[in-house]
């Protein structure tokens, strides 16, 4: 069974360099772990501020009929948003911040 390994900073670097597109098998495993749906765990999404130009990070409840709750984090680049959320999830798994900006 694949397990999270907080020493695998190479996977974080790989994701930062290329959040979309083909990934190494280990990075793909890690992303599956981070994106595993749960009926009781809120998840992040992006709310469009301006079509194809600006987005605000938000949090949704699974299965909810309520709109997402907006955060204060605004992005003009989707890849930056992906990296930001990746770091949040890494911290959740590792119990500590990812030592890469």
């Amino acid at each position: 069974m694949y397990r999270f390994d907080k020493t695998r900073l190479d996977l974080a670097r790989e994701f930062k360099a290329n959040p979309y597109g083909a990934h190494s098998p280990d990075l793909q495993y890690l992303l599956h772990l981070m994106r595993r749906p749960s009926p009781d765990r809120p998840f992040h999404c992006l709310v469009v501020d301006k079509d194809d130009e600006r987005w605000t990070l938000a949090v949704m409840e699974p299965g909810t009929r309520r709109p997402p709750t907006l955060t204060n984090h605004v992005f003009t680049d989707l890849a930056e948003a992906e990296w930001f959320v990746f770091k949040l999830r890494w911290r959740e798994l590792a119990g500590e911040d990812l030592p890469i900006d």
């Binding site: 749960s38 992040h44 079509d51 194809d52």
Partner: protein, 749 residues
């Protein structure tokens, strides 16, 4: 905050036709409405600037805002009748298959009115226990319930009696399940009361109760409803006496029980008229009813044992109707304004743009040329069937699963959020009902969040990239719709030399495929401009335009799977599911068929050796590079999202030429489910060589031809760099040759 939404009564309008617009708005006193022509999507700084073209129209202007609720939830209504209102003593009997017992009070059958606390009703109470309730007004209500809640997805026979002489209320439940190893026992309860139900001319409702008179839109009879039931009902019976158990058994078993003929008030058989919205009473008074908000018919009933899987062969196995508190076929709003299409208005994609304060809403429609008339040799065929299937796709917002299979964060905008704030907007065929059952019906007669030129680039919005390209070429095209294609068949396409599809024409009726085939057999030219086309079989409602059905049977990439015995459409009786499982794979029609999907990044095509074949020399004029489409507004490439490949086994013609093939797809691109018979793990594009999009061309025997892009994302590359790119050149070359009346040589050489 202002809330603004609306819909129109027709998507396909011809000169002289009137389109009526229904609008609901709160948080503002007035809203503005403008008719515009749509020439491109709103797609950000890399795309053609979004510039809807104003249309002079008498209806343009300011309107008073009003809020129109949506009467959601299905039920059966039997109009008031003296035999119903005249009941003193009575017996009610019905078979029940509840799906959400314990999730609030749910009405099964009766005349109960919550507003007046009057009438009678057989219900499930908050705990899911069968209950008989009678009332003669506020404070004069009596009810009796068994002590045993029903269990979900199990059949029961429920019956109840009221004796007007003794005041005795009685209710009983009898489990009908004969398989499994957790048997239940019957339960019953009795109560005596001085209350007698009020006598009034009231409709008999099944699967809902009256809440009172509607003060806005009503789905039926000017009433509001409440306590909607989730689950199946079968064999509802009503008799004008408090029957003993033996008589109840006879009543429940037989439509014309011996010795009870004079007592039977109603005996409804849901297996009659399954394609319709009529519910037939075979009792002596013929108290026929109507289904409201399209509950699901053609579902197995209590006697279904797997020996019959096609309801048309033996409807007696299909005597049930499945009701949902979130069924919706028509919001039933009053129109606010109307637009009559002027004779001189050019064919195209149009919309009513609504605005109020900081809120806006779009209600698109299509202006088609007069029947039988082509104003251009080129027709863009709007994928209205697919748009309908996706309307109000709520599942996309439900969980992290969307991010998991798409490989990127979920995005949504303010209009998407309307769907979360207003669940009464209803569901798509990509959703499950609140009770977990799949949604097989979709209707356009309601406000929707995802049929607009803004927001997520998908279906209609994405197809506007193709319109953008046609506008760039001078705007010489007509717009026709799949709705018309289903109704008019080949006749709709006949006047055109070239028919151009949308980016994702996924849903087709048999009539639509027949029309395409007839068109191609007569020399027509088809540009299939997308991916995952011609995939699911659908049926159209026999009397309601704009209402479709899809049964997600057996295989395919699907958000839910049809349950056993539910593979046949209720509208037509046809076997549903994938067209490839119904003998007409897309590869046979357009050379390619769905092979994979992924939503994180798009890729490019590489020219093949076949691109040098003299048969397609015209296709690559002015194109030098080997790589095609390594750019695009949709995730950076022309090949992606949902992609198609050739497969000779499934019908790709042997003379078809794959002139370019995509490569470098990511891990999220998985082989479609129908290609994975034995799970083996090597199913993503980084390891599986079967995953690619194929740009494919072949000639047809009467001088026609087909050209397929095999990729939804393709359209998003057309306008790249101000249309100065090889994808645009390639596609324009194809259109130019397809417009040319010279027949394609046959046999190909």
């Amino acid at each position: 905050m202002t809330v603004l939404m609306g819909y129109c009564d027709r998507w396909s309008a011809r000169p002289g036709d009137t389109v009526r617009f229904m609008v609901s708005c709160k948080g503002a006193n007035r809203y503005e409405a403008r008719i515009v022509r749509l020439k491109q999507p709103s797609a950000g700084p890399l795309a053609t600037p979004f510039a809807p073209e104003p249309v002079a129209a008498a209806c343009n202007g300011s309107y008073p805002a009003r809020w129109q609720p949506i009467p959601i939830g299905s039920f059966v209504a039997v109009p008031p009748h003296p035999r119903i209102s005249g009941l003193a003593s009575f017996t009610v009997s019905v078979r029940v298959w509840p799906t959400t017992p314990g999730r609030g009070r749910q009405a099964l059958l009766g005349t109960w009115c919550e507003a007046t606390s009057s009438g009678w009703g057989l219900e499930l109470d908050e705990a899911g226990r069968p209950t008989l309730r009678i009332g003669a007004g506020p404070g004069r209500i009596t009810e009796v319930a068994t002590s045993v809640p029903l269990r979900s997805r199990r059949w029961y026979h429920l019956w109840a009696t009221f004796d007007d002489v003794t005041g005795r209320l009685f209710v009983r439940q009898e489990p009908l399940e004969t398989r499994g190893f957790d048997p239940e026992t019957a339960a019953e309860a009795t109560l005596e009361t001085a209350v007698r139900p009020a006598v009034e001319a009231a409709p008999l409702l099944m699967a809902a109760a009256r809440a009172g008179k509607a003060d806005g839109p009503s789905a039926w009879g000017g009433i509001r409803t409440c306590y909607h039931f989730n689950g199946r009902l079968e064999r509802p019976r009503l008799a004008a006496a408090a029957l003993d158990p033996a008589a109840v058994a006879a009543l429940a078993a037989d439509l014309r029980p011996a010795g009870l003929a004079e007592l039977v008030v109603g005996a409804w058989d849901f297996s009659i008229g399954i394609p319709t919205e009529t519910v037939h009473d075979l009792g002596p008074h013929r108290l026929h009813g109507t289904t409201v908000n399209l509950p699901t018919r053609a579902v197995p009933g209590s006697v279904w044992d797997g020996t019959v899987v096609d309801w048309t062969r033996d409807p007696s196995h299909y005597r049930a109707i499945h009701f949902h508190d979130d069924d919706l076929v028509d919001a039933c709003w009053e129109p606010d304004f109307a637009f009559t299409v002027p004779a001189e208005l050019r064919s195209g994609v149009y919309a009513a743009h609504l605005s109020a304060g900081d809120a806006e809403f779009w209600i698109p429609f299509f202006v088609c040329p007069p029947r039988g008339v082509a104003r251009s040799p080129v027709a863009f065929l709007a994928s209205t069937a697919t748009y309908t299937a996706y309307l109000n796709n709520r599942g996309r917002f439900a969980s992290l699963a969307t991010e998991l299979y798409q490989g990127r964060l979920l995005t949504l905008d303010r209009i998407d959020m309307l769907l979360l704030e207003h669940p009464e907007m209803g569901l798509s065929t990509y959703d499950r009902h609140g009770d977990g059952s799949g949604v097989p019906y979709s209707s356009r007669h309601r406000p929707v969040n995802n049929f607009r030129p803004t927001g997520r680039h998908w279906n209609f919005n994405l197809d506007l990239f193709i319109v953008d390209w046609l506008e760039h070429l001078g705007g010489d095209y007509d717009v026709v719709t799949e709705e018309l294609l289903h109704e008019e068949g080949y006749e709709l396409l006949a006047p055109y030399r070239v028919v151009i599809t949308g980016s994702h024409p996924e849903y087709d009726s048999a009539e639509m495929l027949d029309a395409f085939e007839a068109y191609l057999r007569r020399g027509g030219r088809l540009m299939y401009m997308g991916g995952n086309g011609f995939y699911w079989r659908i049926a159209h409602h026999p009397t309601r335009p704009g209402v479709i059905e899809v049964r997600r049977a057996e295989g395919g990439v699907r958000a839910w799977d049809a349950e056993p015995g539910e593979y046949h459409h209720s509208f037509t009786g046809e076997h549903g599911g994938l067209w490839r499982r119904n003998g007409r794979p897309p590869q046979r029609l357009v050379g390619v068929g769905f092979i994979s999907q992924g939503f994180d990044a798009c890729s490019w095509y590489r020219r093949t050796a076949a691109a040098s074949d003299p048969r397609v020399a015209w296709m690559f004029e002015g194109i030098e590079g080997e790589i095609l489409g390594d750019f695009g507004i949709l995730q950076g490439g022309a090949a992606g999202l949902e992609i198609d490949a050739v497969d000779p086994k499934l019908g790709t013609p042997p003379h078809a030429l794959v002139v370019a093939r995509s490569e470098n797809h990511s891990n999220t691109y998985e082989l479609v489910a129908e290609e994975v018979l034995i799970p083996h793990g090597a199913t993503d594009a980084t390891i599986n060589r079967d995953i690619h999009a194929d740009i494919t061309f072949f000639e047809t025997p009467a001088g026609g031809a087909v050209w397929s892009t095999g990729s939804i994302a393709f359209a998003g590359s057309l306008s790249w760099n101000g249309f100065d790119n090889d994808i645009c050149r390639l596609t324009t070359n194809v259109l130019r040759r397809f417009r040319d009346p010279r027949p394609f040589p046959w046999p190909p050489r």
